[in-house]
Structures are given as C-alpha cells and as structure tokens.
C-alpha cells in the first residue's frame, strides 16, 4: 500500500469521523453487551496415565497377530460418550430431576458431549476437561466422569482378561480332544500292523537285493548249463555219425582195397582162371555188394537198430563207443543240473515277488504311520503351548481381579476451577474496540480499492500526462478552522468517553 493510499484512507476516515465514531460506539457497546451476557465457563481438568495394552497381546505373542491400538482418546471417548455412562452422570449431577422429555434428554447428552473434551496429552496421558457455568458442578462432574472412566476401564480390562482366559481354555479343550483322537488312531493303526516296525523296510530291501542276486546267479548258471547241453548234444550226434560211418563201409572199403592188392599180386603170377584169383575176385565182388547195400541202407535209414537220444539218432552199433558213452554220461548230468537250476530259479523269483509285495505294503503303512504320528505331534505341541498360555491367562485374570496389575491411574486429579476459561469479558471488550476501529477503516480501504472516483495525483497520472499544477484544500475561515478542530477533538473525546463508559459498564456489571 502506497503512502498516498494510506493518506487517502486517513483523510477519508477524518472526513467520515462521525460515522466511524458511531460504528465504534456501536461495536464497543455490542462487545460489552455480548461480553456481559456471554456465559462464563469454569473448566476443570484431569489427566489420566494409561498404559493400556490388550491382554491378548502378550498372551498370544507369536501365536496370533494383534491390531495396533493408537488413539487412546478415541477409545476413552467411546467409553465415556456412551449413552449409559452419560445418562448416569446426568442423573447424578441432578440434570434429570425435572424429568426432561426424551428430546430434551438428547439435547442434554449432546451438550454434555460437547463440553466434555478428551484429548491425547502425550503417548500415555489422557486429558479430560469439562466446562460448566458452575465451578463446583464442573469439578464434581469431571470427578465423576474420571472415576467412572477408570472403573469402567478396569471392568472392561477384567472382562477382557476373563474372555481371553476363556478363549484360551476353550482352545485347550479343543486341542485336547484333537490330540486324543490322534492318539487313538495311532494306537489302532499300530495294533493292526504289528509287523511294521521301524527298520523292517531295510531288512526287506536287503532281502530283495539278495534274492535278486541269487536269481541273476541262477539264471547265469542255467544259461551256461543249457549251452553245455547244446554242445554235448552236438558232440554226441557228431560222434555217432563218425562212429557209424567208420564202422562198416570203411571196413568194406579197407577189405576191398586189401583184396584188390592181393588180387593184383596174384595176377602177376597167375591167370585169371586161377582159383585164387577167382576167389579173390568174388570176395571183392561180395564186399562191393555189401558196401553198396550198406550205402543204400544208410540212405534209407532203415537199418532199424537205432536209438534216438535228444533228437539225435544213434546207431546201436556206435553206442558201444567209449567217447559216446562218456558224452552221454555228461549229458545226463547236465540235464539233471538244468532241472535243479530251473526249479531253484522259480523258487527265488517267487520269494522275490513276495518280498517286493511286502516292501510295497510296508511303504504305504509307514507313510500312514508317519502322517498319524505327525498329526499327533502337532496337536501335542499346540496343546502343550495352550496349556502354558492358559496358565498365564489365569494369572493375568487373577491379577486383574485383584487390581494389582493396574496400569491406569489418575495422574492429575480434577480440581475446583477458580477462574473462568474461554472467551471472557476482556476478550469481548477488546474485540469490540478493535472491530469498532478496524471495521470502518477496512470498509474505507475496500471502498478505495473499488471506488473508481479519482482521489489523488497518482491515480490521475495513471491515465493522463497533463501536469497537476496544484492540489487545493478546502479553504476555511478562522472560525471554521476552530469549529473543525473542535469537531476533531470532540470526536476523539467522544471515542475516549465511549471506551471509558464501556469499561465502567463492564466493571459494574461484571
């Protein structure tokens, strides 16, 4: 604000001095009037130290999650502003003696709520304040409120610890039942499956492994024996053939060759008609015929005197061969060994199957057992835990019952207020004076801001560059000057007089 504007406002103020005086008188009078009629309130205060912690908190630590409790004042208000408590206070304070209608009663409650203020003073301090037009009543009411709050809180706390105990007790019983059930089931299972011992599975595994080794071994042996038998059979048939081939045809040919050479020798000395030569020749012919017959016999296989061993035809004639005899003995031995091995293999496989089945069953049973045992263990753990907690809760409840664990105490008891609080007469007086001065000046300022009429040179200079060659005041004659001066002085004196009058009125009617 420029000096010029300020000066303009002051000039205007002097110009409108009577109006301003009027407004000042009006405001001051209003101030003193309102100040005198404004009800005087006495405020009583009390602080309560509170260390409220939900009893379930420590009891259930780790087992359950607690919600944080922060606004104690809000909780306290919830207790104190409750209809029951307030009605009780109203009744004890004598407000209800005239039997107010429900509507009036509701209004009384509302007014009580507005006058009773509960605030968080610090972390653990609650400040109660109550204001009333009667100092005595202000004190007694607040005292009652505080007492009721404390007792109600304790009752609530006891209630809380009892309900906590009951809750835990219920849980204990529930888990006891569960535990018992688990135990029964385990017992039943164990008695039904005696063979299931811990470690039996290992034995079974070892046994299965042994059996498997045995089966493998037997199978190996069996395979070997079978190969041996094959070999023996092959040898046997080969020997027979060899033996059979050698026996007659070879003899015949040998004989024929011998006789041929004999014949050749004879022919050197003798004619064909020589008896010896003829005989030898006949013999050779006989032998050749016999060989022929033999070969055709062989071809027809119709010698008839053959035996069949393991699919191999053996001529009776070669049965006498010692090698053959030996082979046959070996073959018999091998055959009997194969028989034995096969039966052993079957046995081993059977018992392996049995063991595998047993192992499978043992697995299932053991899983079931483990589950039952785990159930039992969990139930047992929780049960033990709850048992401990229940004892703690019982102690807490007992502590609350005896009010020994009290963490709620009146830090600063209510007192009888000696002086009024809130807006007093002085405030209203000062307010009236200030308003009386500031309101008209403010209005003048406002008018100056919005009034388009030209008041000073700077306003003129804003839109024209024509020089301002002079500012002329109103010209006053000496007598006029005197009267104007007197008017200023009288206005000022009247203002002073108003202040004095207002103060006197305030003092008299206070």
């Amino acid at each position: 604000m420029s000096y010029e504007n300020f000066a303009t406002v002051v000039k205007d103020a002097l110009n409108y001095r009577k109006l301003i005086l009027f407004v000042f008188v009006l405001c001051s009078s209003a101030g003193v009037a309102v100040g005198l009629y404004w009800p005087k309130y006495y405020t009583s205060e009390a602080t309560i130290f509170i260390e409220e912690e939900n009893i379930l908190g420590p009891l259930m630590q780790g087992a359950a999650v607690q919600t944080d409790v922060v606004d104690r004042a809000k909780l306290a208000r919830e207790i104190v502003y409750g209809r029951d408590i307030l009605l009780q206070i109203l009744e004890e304070g004598g407000w209800l003696e005239e039997k107010p209608s429900p509507l009036q009663q509701e209004q009384l409650l509302e007014s009580m709520r507005s006058r009773l203020v509960i605030k968080n003073a610090s972390m653990n301090l609650l400040r109660f304040s109550y204001k009333d037009i009667d100092a005595e009543r202000s004190y007694t009411t607040l005292k009652r409120v505080v007492d009721m709050f404390v007792s109600e809180s304790l009752a609530t706390k006891l209630d809380e610890s009892r309900s906590a105990f009951e809750f835990i007790d219920k849980q204990v019983k529930e888990y006891h039942q569960k535990l018992k059930l688990a135990e029964d089931e385990l017992k039943k299972f164990r008695s039904g499956n005696v063979d299931i011992r811990s470690g039996s599975m290992q034995e079974i595994t070892t046994r299965i492994q042994e059996l498997q080794t045995r089966v493998t071994t037997i199978e190996q042996e069996l395979r070997e024996e079978r190969i041996k038998k094959q070999t023996l059979l092959a040898q046997l048939s080969g020997e027979a053939e060899t033996a059979a081939g050698l026996s007659r045809a070879e003899e015949y040919r040998k004989r024929i060759i011998e006789l041929q050479s004999q014949l050749d020798t004879l022919l050197l000395n003798y004619h064909d008609t020589y008896p010896d030569v003829v005989r030898v020749r006949n013999q050779i012919q006989d032998l050749k015929n016999a060989l022929k017959r033999e070969e055709s016999d062989k071809k027809n296989n119709s010698s008839g005197n053959t035996i069949v061993i393991e699919g191999v035809e053996v001529d009776e004639r070669i049965q006498a061969s010692p090698v053959y005899q030996q082979l046959r003995t070996d073959l018999y031995a091998t055959n009997s060994l194969i028989q034995t091995l096969a039966s052993r293999l079957t046995d081993a496989k059977k018992s392996l199957e049995i063991q595998a089945e047993l192992g499978r069953r043992t697995h299932e049973l053991q899983a079931t057992l483990a589950e039952l045992e785990r159930d039992y263990q969990v139930n047992s753990d929780i049960y033990q835990d709850f048992l401990r907690r229940r004892e703690a809760a019982r102690v807490s409840m007992n502590v609350d019952l005896e009010q020994k664990g009290l963490n709620l105490r009146i830090d600063e008891p209510p007192y009888l207020p000696s002086s009024t609080s809130g807006l007093g007469l002085t405030h209203f007086l000062a307010g009236g004076f200030a308003l009386g001065l500031l309101l008209p000046i403010g209005i003048l300022f406002g008018v100056l801001q919005i009034d388009p009429r030209i008041r000073n040179a700077s306003q003129l200079n804003q839109f024209t560059d024509i020089p301002i060659i002079g500012m002329v005041n109103e010209f006053y004659a000496e007598s006029e000057i005197k009267s104007i001066k007197n008017s200023y002085i009288s206005t000022f004196l009247l203002g002073l007089l108003t202040v004095v009058a207002v103060l006197v009125v305030a003092l008299i009617f206070k």
Partner: protein, 277 residues
C-alpha cells in the same frame, strides 16, 4: 498619511463599528501597508480605482485568500498554481479559462483565488470574467447583485469600463455575468464575446485574465467557451469524478490546451493544526 489612506480607514471602520477598535486597526494596517507598497511599485496600477477594501474576516467569509488569513496552507497552494499560470500566459496574455470536470467542483473558488493570488503580487493585476452565465458564483461578491456584466455588454450599448468592477481586493477586478439570463448560449456564440476578450487582451495587456465557466461535462456553454480559449485550467473535484469523466473532459477541451489540472477540495489531514496561525 495620504488622503486615500484616510478615506479607506474611515470607510473600513465605519463598516465594522461593532468590532473592537484595536483589532480592526491592527488588521487593516497590514492591508493598508501592502496597498501602499503596491501603489509605490507601479505607477499604472496606482491609477486603479480602489473602493473599500475587504477586511480579513470579510475575505475569509467570501473564501478569498490573502496575506494574513489564518489558513496559510491554501495560500501556498494557490501561490504554486499562480506560478504555473504565469508560465502559461507569459507570451501573449491570452485569457485563461478555468473549468471543472463536473458541477459543484468549486470552480469559482479556484478561479477567484488564482486571481487573488496573482493580486497578492504587487507587480501584477488580475481580472476575472464570469462566464458562468446561468449559475454565477460571484453574485455574493458584489455589493449590488444586479450590476452590469458580460451579458449586458454583449447586448451592446455599454462600454467596458461600465462592467469592470472592483471586488475589494487590490489589483483584482471582476466582470460579472450580468443581470439578464435569457438565451445565454446565443450570447456566447456571438462575435461580440470574441471581441470582448480581444479588447480586454489589448487594453489591459498587463492583466492576467481568468475566465470562470460552468463545468465542461454539464454545460454546453463550457464547451463553446473551451473552443474560444487556448489556455484552460481543468479543475478536478476530489472523490467526485471518475477516470472516464476526466478523460471525456480532456477530449472535449483538447489536451494541448490544458495548462494543468487542479485537484480541488482535497480533505485536510492534520494540516489544519500545522499550517494555521
């Protein structure tokens, strides 16, 4: 003591019989002294016919500034305006029209006191021509209200000397509006008005001629007069007119003609206590 002084003193004391003798003589002595000084300084002015001069109380009553009135601040303010008027009329002594933006601006007050301020200067004389023909502000200054004035002159038949009247202040003269009031605008448009001012300008070349007129936004007369003169002082009343009104007035007059703006009736702060004796 000269005869003139004796006559003056006699007349003044006769007019103020009720007043205590000592104060009356004291006050008039100063007036007389200044008058004497004026007479000595310029021979021509000496010839001016001075009737009975106004006493201090009468001056104050008529809202005239003078050397020894109580309210010195206003005197100073008019002296300052006077300086600007001197600068404007230095060349050819053309008449200066004093007009206001709107009615009731105290236009007449400004005009007559500029004239009075000029008259305070021993070496100068001033003449006020009242051209506010319908609503003259000078009537109370004249002893006889129906004295001859501008209108009478314009109608003809009388000489300049018949209308130039003393107002009771040394070195200041007045031509009043005149008695008759009909169809004044016609008079203003007549060439005789122009002739009147030409004659005034020529005959009284040492006089500063101030023309009082109606306010520019309210009266057609003022617009006609504004066309007639080349020097105009615009009076702006304090807290009465808006920017638009002032701009309008400036436009009607013509910006180049305006010597300057005088803000009138500015309320006083505490200068009443400070500047008064």
């Amino acid at each position: 003591m000269s005869n003139l002084e004796k006559a003056l003193k006699k007349a003044i004391s006769a007019r103020n019989k009720n007043k205590p003798e000592d104060s009356a003589t004291g006050e008039t002595a100063a007036e007389l002294y200044s008058e004497e000084a004026a007479v000595r300084s310029k021979g021509e002015i000496q010839t001016m016919r001075e009737n009975e001069l106004l006493r201090k109380t009468d001056l104050e009553e008529r809202k005239f500034i003078s050397r020894d009135i109580s309210d010195v601040k206003v005197v100073d303010q008019f002296r300052e305006i006077r300086t600007h008027i001197y600068q404007a009329s230095r060349r050819n002594n053309s008449p200066i029209l004093v007009t206001a933006v709107s009615g009731n601006a105290g236009n007449t007050f400004v005009t007559k006191n500029i004239a009075a301020a000029i008259a305070l200067d021993d070496s100068r004389t001033s003449l006020v021509v009242d051209c506010n023909l319908t609503n003259s502000g000078f009537k109370n200054l004249l002893r006889e209200p129906d004295q001859l004035g501008v209108i009478d002159y314009l109608e003809g038949g009388i000489s300049l000397e018949d209308i130039i009247k003393p107002v009771g202040i040394s070195r200041m003269r007045l031509i009043s509006a005149g008695a008759k009031k009909e169809s004044v605008t016609d008079h203003l448009t007549s060439s005789r008005l122009r002739a009147l001012f030409n004659e005034l300008q020529e005959r009284y070349s040492d006089r500063i001629i101030l023309v009082d007129s109606p306010s520019i936004n309210d009266s057609a007369d003022a617009k006609i007069l504004a066309n007639l003169f080349s020097h105009v002082v615009l009076v702006v009343p304090y807290r009465k007119v808006t920017e638009t009104q002032i701009e309008n007035a400036i436009k009607v007059i013509g910006k180049e003609k305006i010597i300057g703006i005088v803000i009138n009736r500015e309320p006083r702060l505490l200068s009443l206590f400070k500047y008064t004796r």
